[in-house]
Subunit: 261 residues, 2 copies
Amino acid sequence: MRTLKLTIAYDGTRYAGWQAQAGPQAADGGPPASQRPTIQGALERVLRTVLQERVMVVGSGRTDAGVHAEGQVAHVRTRSAMPARRLLRSVNQLLPADLAVLRIEEAPEGFHARFDARRKRYRYRLFTGPVVPPFIRPYVHHVRAPLNVPLMRREAAALRGRHDFRAFARASSWRRTGSRTVTAVALRRKGPELHLEVEGNGFLHTMVRSIAGTLIDVGRGRLAPGTARRMLRTGERRLAGTTAPAKGLSLVDVRYPGDGG
Amino acid sequence: MRTLKLTIAYDGTRYAGWQAQAGPQAADGGPPASQRPTIQGALERVLRTVLQERVMVVGSGRTDAGVHAEGQVAHVRTRSAMPARRLLRSVNQLLPADLAVLRIEEAPEGFHARFDARRKRYRYRLFTGPVVPPFIRPYVHHVRAPLNVPLMRREAAALRGRHDFRAFARASSWRRTGSRTVTAVALRRKGPELHLEVEGNGFLHTMVRSIAGTLIDVGRGRLAPGTARRMLRTGERRLAGTTAPAKGLSLVDVRYPGDGG
């Protein structure tokens, strides 16, 4: 058996997410999630055609309906001897335009995209100008209210480190513990955009969107400064700001031991 | 009468261009140009609804079917007293997602978006990596062949200044003269992208796409270095490289007297 590491980019707009969720769930606009395709499903279908073999595509983790990825990582185990370059070309010819495999690399036999992942980096894009240019509409959350960015930066700093993030997650998403380590968090100005970048060893369900929403609500004066710190201390979900919409979020990259950097 | 200056952005993918061309014309993919909407038409329809008055939207110039704009400029004359901010909001609420008015400003009564334009800047985006990420597929031309960028830069330098550019244009697009001034031309590396930026006082039909195509063909070794200079000297269209596809091209901005910079 051969193990392949796939780096994947997608525009999540029309997908039910990386993997269909069990049970009924509200979709972020568009048809119900159950009727929309999944990233994993689309990849498995195309790989099956190209490799002439059923394969399972194991991602580093799920992304929700409507969330994008610039560098999701997955692994596949196959008996095929097809060179990675040819496989890459064939797979991309068959994939829809909103889903692409950017790289295929040979990986050590035991490589596991989920268990071996050390760090993930997400970017949440806010657009703060008056009119969103058409090119980026599917990828940004438009905030019309003026934002106090220095205040948001101070709020964000409280998130760094190891904390119980359960107040930033859907209740169903943590079992034994909501403890996660955020290794870096930053708010960067990019012209009319404001990017929230969060890096960590793992994330609870909707955690980044809940962080984004809470920071926005602090920045626009709807929530008191210090809310994030109080949420970490008390674990109280009801203190959180409005969860920011899926379309502003993108999984930027996933790091593994030996990746360097 | 009041004159308004509009700054407009669009994803040109599904449009027949700024304005429908007279006569039959092959479209760059999609339905024939005659069945596709025009940017000008879409703007005039929405402005008529909002202003309750027929208006003409006069652009700085046409853009072809499939060409994008980050900063097209147009003017409108109206009797309406509606504040520019309210007009901006109302217009954008009615426009489709791939077309937006970024700014509306009061302009001197005699302002004319076409006659007064001093400089235009276009960007042609080449993607030179192996796989184009989904987010930018509508906006880049994918070149798989290795490109000799230093050679392309030397070739591009020959275009600077006042020349007869008829060899870079469809024959129908120049009447008395093909003489234009290119004030700046540059090739910039942006990660896996290569951007050709061309600024000038005016452009012939398909001129930037023909420049892009010629530079690409020189860069990949299909055309001899010095081709651009020969084209300027002889005016011979048949020397040109393959005209690069519309989707890589964007009108970045248009400058007027008093704009500064």
